[in-house]
């Protein structure tokens, strides 16, 4: 580990902990990123014949020509602080490297479909023979057993599969997903907590164990109240945009400007009176239509019109501050640019500036929100290039230069992808030029001077 040992940022909780990271894509890498941020030495793996697919996703400056697998922002933001080997697990010599690493490791994380690790001969029963107190966590869509265990599972299917999408949507219309894969990071975070729980047990007893994490199950509690309401009242919860049984008014309101919005949530009569006052209409608090939460639920549409007449004349940040200073729950609906400039996220360090090879300085979001007085779970070192730490890790395992050369010759380790298709076909940064996304409203803007605006221009 180049950094992360006790130093200026304090003693990191997991300094010296060794993690073998066989996870790919989103949920697993989000899990191991938290372990790495907490100081663990995470060595991740990918295969030259089958790169982590996120090395193709959302390429820097939409440019797929030059080593596109080193340019994917999607990969970078989830893999900082880690080391990487590019290793062929299809060869015995490759699996042998894994076994040697496991013999001195504390934790193994993997996110293949359930049969894969057993096919490699790297399932928990076998790894336990090599390292009896190993903690192994398998992250999968539907878990390691049960009738759907072998189902192919992508993040965009698992939020619906957990039930959450059945209560996401506009009134009277069909279910909707979040605008990105929401349960993937959630289950990765849960995985990090599960591993820390197992580490606490190992500290006390010396025993390791196996963790079976199903993303579907991990996410079900998020819609828990709907499950309970169905049992207790026999009614299936409806889709109703941002409205809630527990608050009225509650909604997302149009503000001044192009596609700007703010949310407002009122949960008591006092708070409603404060909102009415802040909007210049203290008389609303005396109006019988709005006197109780039940009454406000009943007249929610009328209330929304009155609120929109006020919000639509104001900037979303103005709505936010005016209402919050009056003691009313509210927030601006921020887009992907605004989060980078918001004073709160700036003050709390939500984005670390990482100097990434080929890409220069880039803002990389935190993956653990917990702030400590003694340590900082932040991005420190760049996301690894393909196979960047092959030699370094093999040397630590005692491989000689000759052995390493032989592994390279046999294609067990590599630094370039063995692409099955020409790079020009894979390099699909975005599928179309920016202009077409802008024309169709899929993108709102593309700022040519974004690095100057962010203060990261070279």
């Amino acid at each position: 580990m180049s950094e992360g040992r006790p130093g200026t940022s304090g003693q990191l909780p997991l300094a010296g902990l060794r993690v073998v990271d066989l996870a790919q894509v989103f949920a697993g890498p989000a899990c191991t990123r938290i372990l790495a941020d907490l100081g663990a030495d995470v060595v991740r793996f990918e295969s030259a014949r089958r790169l982590d697919v996120t090395r193709n996703l959302i390429l820097t400056d939409n440019d797929g020509k030059d080593h596109h697998w080193h340019r994917a922002s999607y990969f970078v933001i989830r893999n900082v602080n880690k080391r990487e080997m590019c290793l062929d697990l299809g060869q015995e010599a490759g699996r042998d490297v894994i076994r040697k690493l496991v013999a001195r490791a504390d934790v193994v994380v993997e996110s293949f479909t359930p049969r894969v690790m057993a096919n490699f001969g790297l399932d928990y029963e076998r790894l336990k023979e090599i390292k009896p107190d190993i903690i192994m966590c398998s992250l999968s869509g539907y878990g390691q057993h049960g009738p759907m265990r072998d189902y192919g599972a992508y993040g965009m299917g698992l939020e619906p599969a957990s039930g959450i999408s059945s209560i996401t949507g506009y009134p009277g219309e069909g279910p909707m997903r979040s605008g990105l894969s929401f349960t993937d990071p959630y289950s990765g975070f849960v995985g990090a907590g599960a591993i820390l729980t197992a580490l606490a047990y190992r500290r006390r007893t010396g025993k390791g164990q196996y963790i079976d994490l199903s993303e579907q199950e991990a996410a079900i509690p998020i819609m828990g109240a709907a499950l309970l309401a169905y049992q207790m009242t026999g009614r299936l919860p409806e889709r109703k945009s941002a409205r809630s049984d527990w608050a009225a008014p509650q909604g997302c309101y149009r503000c001044a400007g192009d596609d700007r919005w703010a949310v407002i949530s009122v949960t008591s009569e006092d708070e409603f009176a404060r909102m009415a006052g802040a909007m210049g209409h203290p008389e609303w608090a005396q109006d019988q239509r709005f006197a109780t939460q039940a009454a406000r639920q009943q007249h929610h549409d009328e209330l929304d019109e009155l609120i929109t007449a006020w919000t639509s004349q104001r900037d979303h940040y103005d709505v936010f501050h005016t209402l919050q200073r009056a003691g009313v729950k509210a927030a601006p609906v921020l887009d992907g640019k605004e989060v980078l400039f918001d004073p709160h996220f700036k003050a709390r360090g939500q984005f670390d500036i990482i100097d990434q090879p080929l890409l220069g300085k880039r803002p990389v979001q935190r993956h653990l929100a917990a702030k400590s007085r003694r340590w900082e779970a932040k991005g420190r070192t760049h996301a690894p290039l393909l196979g960047e730490h092959n030699d370094e890790v093999l040397r630590e395992l005692g491989y000689s230069d000759e052995e390493m050369a032989s592994l390279r010759e046999q294609g067990v380790i590599a630094n370039e992808p063995a692409l099955p298709v020409p790079p020009a076909l894979v390099a699909m940064a975005l599928k179309l030029p920016y202009e077409r996304y802008l024309e169709h409203g899929i993108l709102q803007a593309v700022d040519a001077d974004y690095r100057e605006q962010l203060g990261i221009a070279e």
Binding site: D61, P160, A200, I222, L340, L425
Partner: protein
Amino acid sequence: MPERALEGLRVVDCSQGIAGPYATKLLADNGALVTKVEPPEGDYTRRLGPFPGGTPDPEQSGLFLHLNTSKRSVTLDLATDAGRGVLRRLLADADVFVTGERTSQLQRLGITYEVLAAEFPDLIVAQVTPFGASGPYADYDGNSLTAMAMSSIMYNTGAPDREPLVTGGEPGEYLAGVHLWIGILAALEARARYGGGDHIDVAMCDAAACADEYNAAMYGFQGAVRRRYYSRHIFGYPNDIMKAQDGYVVVIPGANGFKSPLQPPDVISPMALLLENIELDQDVLFQQMGERMIRWQDFEALVEPYFSTHGAREIVETAQALRLPFAFVPTAADLLADEHLQARRFWEKVPAKSGELTVPGQPFKMSETQPQAGLPPRLGEANDEVLSHV
């Protein structure tokens, strides 16, 4: 009872609602002794319900029962000197103190981290708030909705020209709870290694922002700002929920659903096989992702005849057999009846007046120390036991 991972850990939890109580449920179901300190009127989730038959009863709120399994409850009025005195005695024996109060309120109560650290140097003070213990919005109030608004996730959820949609359920609260739980466990690990307590500070909006898949990255790496576009991914279509004959399915072609330009002409794509029409492979909408994304209405028209005449179960099972990672879109009722979840023994039961209540089970399974939901407490049921001890 089999051994559990966190036996011996002692937690005093003054938080209410969802985020803090979910974090301490994850500790309590794993064996920690969690003393839930409630105000005399009880945690406010006791008043939120849902209730059996819709009739309010502080001992029967479904949300409270789910979030407070395996804990004991004492009632204390922290606005009084006596209440705070008892709290201090409890903290003298505790490893972790959890609070959901904003910093300004902790100052009024005289129980800020600084004050507590001076008295209890090994105590871990864990604070979860809408906008953080410090920062420009630290005094502001909020909930799951405000957190999701701040995160950028909401901006991209829903249809263009209509209001952004918030993800269903209470995602911001649960995210904050999970981050608080991780922070507490990390602080305990640091204390075991290096000694000394800590202050863990989780802002609900920070936890939600940590779940952003790529909105901020698209700006930071290419200056592009996504707009809301039917909740679609920027890198692929369809990955959408579509209507089947009797419900909904998630249509996900995955990496190999459509033909690659390098495959020989006689190869038939799994998507064409699923849709029972091999001519579709010749259509530009089956050949070019970019065109498909822009002309999605044409694509929908192309696939509609199949989806509107087949049931969700048949579609998903056929697709999965073709290695297409389609998924179901279950409702609460569907989940409770789901064979897969039952085979995995996912659900847990808690006793309620109306009979047993099925609550979401543990979010992970452990081979040696399986977590398990114990009884949720009646309000103040441990008052005598705890007060006589302190």
